[in-house]
């Protein structure tokens, strides 16, 4: 039984982690491509259209990976989490079905037109199809996060005698106070990934003395969008999302911040330290006094509840994992703001394209937004444990009752092998597209 739950959780965690490497770029990049296309329509400079075309190639490959790894997500609710699906399907099925009907059809119908229809449609209509693909992918994110928000902070429901959750207020699913901060936080983070990728490829071209004009355009666009989105991730969206956790999941907040004991007179903010679960303290701690109380309540001396005030049965299952995920996310987010700020300062001093160390830093920063996005989601998901529906349905009560651990391990191994192949193919083909670079318009 324990094994079974473990493999079910591993399979979902593995497949969703791998899947979300792709949509986080898709969502942000679709907006940047629409931006390039829009600049082209306004300025008539071919460079913008060529830039849009180049990024569309990366987008198409990335989108395909997102689609093929996304279908298993919807199936897994039923295959591995049948009990959860049975009990809550009347509610989360609502938002998931809406995602299929409203966004997947929109994306898939117009993607083909967007990728292959430039000549057929003309530039203006082509811009419109790009915009619709962008709209579809952002709507998809919205409906997924509406589902996620209901699991974090259930609203508009009642529980029947047989344990089933039924909806009694449709509107509440969308006015859920958890939804908007999480959605904006996530979309801003997706913009971070795509801006950093665009900047990194641009810097790569500049450092290699290839595609010089495109290199400049990508770096410039990347760092400007990168700075704006890095700031938005922290404030106001990250701040609001964290306040939701403080208010509705205080035990999760204590674990995220590594607060084992309530500190009278205000809590310090932990920068570095390893949770020691045996002695219930942080080892090798570096912390700044009273900052956390101020950030949370705008009061230097506000009291923040430590883990000691809660019953261990409601502790997040993996406290060190949650703590690290959160700290990696926040640490990286801070570095992103710093780097992009420097880059933008150099841009305005007209020195960015020759400041080699910043260009090198931009290239090396490429994987880190992916790590920050992933650890951000781990913070949310590990923070929700041990619940599937916060405070109402335990994760252990949601797995499929008839699927044995041997079958789940079999499929988990299959997914690992298959996704390893997909990852290698993606890197190989993306490398090929990047190496070839943008093509100048021939007419």
């Amino acid at each position: 039984m324990e094994d079974m739950l473990f493999y079910d959780r591993m399979q979902f965690a593995f497949t969703i982690t791998f899947h979300y490497l792709f949509p986080q770029l898709t969502m942000g990049l679709s907006l940047l491509i629409v931006y390039f296309k829009w600049k082209f329509l306004r300025t008539k400079l071919d460079q913008y259209n060529d830039a849009a075309k180049f990024w569309m190639k990366i987008f198409a490959l990335n989108f395909a990976m997102g689609v093929v790894t996304g279908i298993p997500m919807e199936f897994q609710f039923g295959t591995n989490w049948a009990k959860f699906s049975e009990l809550t399907g009347g509610i989360i099925g609502q938002t998931l079905a809406m995602e299929g009907m409203f966004s997947f059809f929109l994306e898939s119908s117009f993607l083909g037109l967007f990728l292959f229809g430039e000549k057929l449609l003309g530039h203006k209509l082509h811009f419109v199809t790009g915009f619709l693909v962008f709209l579809g992918s952002w709507a998809s994110g919205y409906l997924i996060i509406a589902t996620h928000s209901w699991m974090q902070y259930p609203v508009g429901y009642e529980v029947l005698e047989n344990g089933k959750f039924v909806l009694n207020n449709f509107g509440a699913l969308f006015s859920n106070p958890w939804l908007l901060p999480s959605y904006l936080h996530n979309q801003a983070a997706s913009m971070v990934t795509s801006s950093f990728v665009v900047a990194a490829i641009g810097a790569f071209y500049l450092l290699n003395n290839k595609h010089h004009e495109f290199g400049k355009l990508f770096v410039k666009t990347g760092v400007i969008f990168g700075l704006i989105s890095s700031l938005l991730v922290a404030f106001p969206t990250g701040d609001l999302a964290a306040k939701n956790v403080v208010k509705h999941q205080p035990v999760t907040f204590a674990a995220m911040e590594g607060i084992f004991e309530t500190e009278p007179g205000g809590s310090e903010i932990v920068l570095i330290g390893q949770p020691n679960m045996l002695e219930k303290k942080l080892d090798n701690k570096i912390a700044v006094p009273n900052i956390l109380s101020f950030l949370t309540y705008q009061d230097w001396n506000a009291e923040i509840k430590g883990l000691n005030e809660f019953d261990p049965s409601v502790y997040p299952t993996n406290i060190p994992g949650l703590y690290y995920a959160y700290h990696i996310m926040v640490g990286l987010g801070t570095i992103f703001i710093g780097l992009m700020l420097l880059a933008v300062v150099q841009l305005f001093r007209k020195k960015l394209y020759t400041t080699k160390w910043i260009l090198w830093a931009l290239v090396f920063m490429l994987p880190f937004p992916y790590i920050a996005n992933t650890t951000g989601w781990y913070t949310a998901e590990l923070g929700r444990q041990p619940w599937l529906v916060y405070n109402l349905l335990r994760t252990s009560a949601g797995a499929s009752p008839t699927v044995s651990s041997g079958n789940t391990l079999f499929t988990l191994l299959g997914f690992i092998g298959l996704y390893l192949l997909l990852g290698l193919l993606f890197l190989m083909l993306a490398g090929k597209i990047i190496n070839k670079g943008p093509q100048l318009n021939k007419h």
């Binding site: 093929v68 049948a82 009990k83 079905a97 039924v166 008839t402 044995s404 298959l418």
Partner: protein, 358 residues
């Protein structure tokens, strides 16, 4: 209200089978009949801009199943665990076969992805037929052993096969000779369907040959359908009772027959879309007749201890189903608009409008 969503779900599934069915069929044609590079290009261009959107019908049907009939979604997806995950893997291989083939110009690379696309299409056609066979045959709900349920009454688990491959065995498997027969019918029908789509949407050199293929396979199809009807009583002693009790249901078998007989005329059709129309009718009729034969059951029980799952016993709560009426028609209308635009832009023969040459 349950009935409304049942009809919606079945309609969406039928649309899925007709649309993605031609993609699978094109894959099978590609596997067995495309010899030259030009043939292969023409066939993939016939489904190029459509297959992705077609696949969304499966995902959206899954979504509606989850939303309107959560208990059925939970029971069947966990019970058919292994084949469903394998279907996912095959869908992934089909997609990357189509998407990645053109990215590198190397004959080994192209050969790998050609086969990935063709073989996964073939297996998907087979598996979906087997799946339909499992639904009408029924499953051992509650996993009853020696007269005692070992699980809740609406849960079960099936291995891929049992040693006897018999649909009447005590311990059932996903694949037995009855479900395999339905799988083969599905492969034959979808091959015909895919051939018709290629004939409809391209000027392929293969078209004349494909018309003969359709004609010959249609004879096979008629024989297989007759055999399946003759042995149907093995899984259901009284297989046609629904059609006798509710005579208006006979419209579904009539649709099937229209499709089957229409297909024999394929060689003489002046309009290339007619063959596709008739194979669509066959698929529509075949699917609807099969589910109508067990209506209102959605998953029969093969033991006498636990009751069949019916569309009423697996549906979501009233409020949720009612509120769905507000957003679903809007979404359905939008989908119709998207499809109209898509098929309008890519109207006509794909090689005439220069699709794929970019």
């Amino acid at each position: 209200m349950e009935l409304f969503w049942y009809i919606v779900l079945m309609t969406m599934l039928a649309v899925y089978v007709i649309l993605d069915g031609y993609d699978f069929g094109a894959g099978i044609i590609h596997l067995f009949f495309a010899k030259t590079e030009k043939d292969k290009k023409t066939i993939t261009s016939a489904i190029g801009p459509f297959w992705d959107a077609n696949e969304v019908w499966l995902i959206a049907s899954g979504g509606v199943l989850f939303f309107a009939f959560p208990t059925l979604y939970a029971s069947s997806f966990s019970g058919f665990y292994l084949p469903l995950i394998m279907i996912l893997w095959l869908l992934i291989f089909r997609a990357i076969g189509l998407e990645l083939r053109g990215q590198v110009h190397n004959h080994m690379w192209e050969a790998i992805w050609d086969k990935a696309f063709g073989i996964s299409s073939l297996l998907l056609a087979l598996f979906f037929g087997v799946a339909l066979g499992n639904v009408v045959r029924g499953v051992n709900l509650g996993n009853v052993v020696d007269g005692v349920s070992t699980h809740e009454a609406h849960y079960f688990f099936l291995p891929l096969w049992n040693p006897t491959f018999s649909p009447q065995a005590e311990e059932l498997g996903i694949i037995d000779w009855f479900t395999l027969l339905l799988g083969i019918i599905s492969v034959v029908a979808l091959t015909i369907h895919g051939a018709n789509w290629v004939i409809f949407k391209t000027n392929s050199d293969l078209n004349e040959k494909l018309k003969k293929v359709v004609f010959n396979l249609n004879i096979v199809l008629v024989v297989l359908v007759v055999i399946s009807l003759l042995i149907w009583h093995i899984i259901e002693p009284n297989p046609f009772h629904n059609f006798i009790d509710k005579p208006w249901l006979i419209i579904f078998p009539l649709i099937t027959l229209t499709g089957l007989f229409g297909l024999f005329k394929v060689k003489t059709f002046k309009k290339h879309g007619l063959g596709f129309l008739f194979s669509s009718l066959f698929l529509l009729g075949g699917l609807t007749s099969t589910v109508a034969s067990i209506f209102p059951k959605v998953l029969p029980s093969t033991n006498s201890i636990n009751p069949d799952l019916t569309l009423y016993s697996v549906a979501a709560h009233e409020y949720g189903l009612t509120v769905g009426l507000y957003w679903f028609p809007v979404a359905a209308l939008l989908v119709a608009v998207y499809m109209f635009i898509q098929y309008k832009v890519f109207n006509g023969k794909m090689d005439d409008i220069g699709y794929g040459e970019h």
